[in-house]
């Protein structure tokens, strides 16, 4: 199964697209959760159930948006690429690996694009869930969620650094800086 996925990504040369979608939408998910949770802190909301429901709603919406938008756009791209290849080959490639790829690769990319923000959001919400299920955390659950969000954003930067073959620490700190700037902007424009 994994070999087949790798093969389909190989022949369509879409490894980098999958990676890009994962980072871009994962980053979207993490920053959205960060923004929502800071918004709740500024609003001095104590009701963790409200925080979870609002964040979960946003996470599901981000996931569905990522899934549908990537599927629609990638389906069109793959169909176009297959048509171009069929023209060059002067044959129908529908039953070949290229035909399979044009059907399965958009779905795979859509899953990555949809699941990346959803899974990252779940991880960020984990401390709040643990608090609601009775676990005692060393700090307030929203602040713990913010630390998780910052850590994930840093990890996304590290991942990008390794892809670009540059310093992972520098790349991680860059993405972390974006998150800090976002947090500062939220504090500046809210809480009045």
């Amino acid at each position: 199964m994994l070999d087949q996925i790798k093969f389909l990504l190989d022949i369509t040369r879409t490894h980098d697209i999958v990676r890009r979608y994962f980072v871009v939408n994962g980053f979207d998910g993490a920053l959205t959760m960060l923004g929502l949770i800071i918004g709740f802190i500024v609003s001095e909301t104590d009701d963790l159930a409200v925080i979870i429901n609002v964040c979960l709603g946003a996470a599901i919406a981000l996931g569905m948006s990522g899934l549908s938008s990537a599927y629609i756009s990638e389906s069109a791209e793959r169909k176009r690429a297959l048509g171009k290849l069929e023209q060059a080959m002067i044959s129908d490639l529908g039953d070949s690996a290229h035909g399979d790829a044009s059907r399965w690769v958009p779905l795979l990319i859509a899953l990555v694009n949809g699941l990346a923000p959803l899974m990252i959001s779940f991880l960020i919400l984990l401390p709040i869930w643990l608090a609601t299920s009775g676990m005692t955390l060393p700090l307030s659950p929203p602040y713990a969620a913010i630390i998780v969000a910052l850590f994930i954003i840093f990890l996304l930067g590290v991942f990008l650094g390794r892809i670009a073959d540059i310093s992972w620490l520098r790349s991680g700190l860059h993405t972390l800086l974006v998150a800090v700037v976002t947090a500062v902007l939220i504090y500046l424009f809210t809480g009045h």
């Binding site: 093969f7 190989d10 022949i11 369509t12 040369r13 171009k84 290849l85 060059a88 080959m89 002067i90 044959s91 490639l93 039953d95 070949s96 690996a97 290229h98």
Partner: protein, 89 residues
């Protein structure tokens, strides 16, 4: 019984899968296939290749099917070597 021992095929294929993956897939069709692939011409989206397959009993249909599965198109069979053998009892 007549067995195919060697075939030389002229094939047009997309750039992907590449020559190595293409020849590996064809070699994988039989247990003792030896594949020799030469890229003759490279265009914007396609490449023309020459594949030589040798083995004790070459299954041409299976090779043709693999070429099609990989997106290739068989243009011609350029050389064939067959041998008649007495079937083992």
């Amino acid at each position: 019984m007549v067995y195919v021992k060697r075939i030389l095929l002229d094939v047009l294929k997309p750039h992907q899968p590449n020559a190595l993956e293409f020849s590996q897939a064809i070699a994988n069709v039989g247990v003792d296939y030896r594949v020799h692939l030469i890229v003759l011409e490279v265009d914007e989206n396609t490449e023309t290749i020459q594949i030589e397959v040798t083995g004790s009993t070459i299954d041409f249909e299976a090779i043709q099917s693999t070429i099609k599965d990989l997106g290739g198109s068989l243009h011609s069979i350029d050389e064939v070597e067959v041998q008649s053998e007495i079937d083992p009892v």
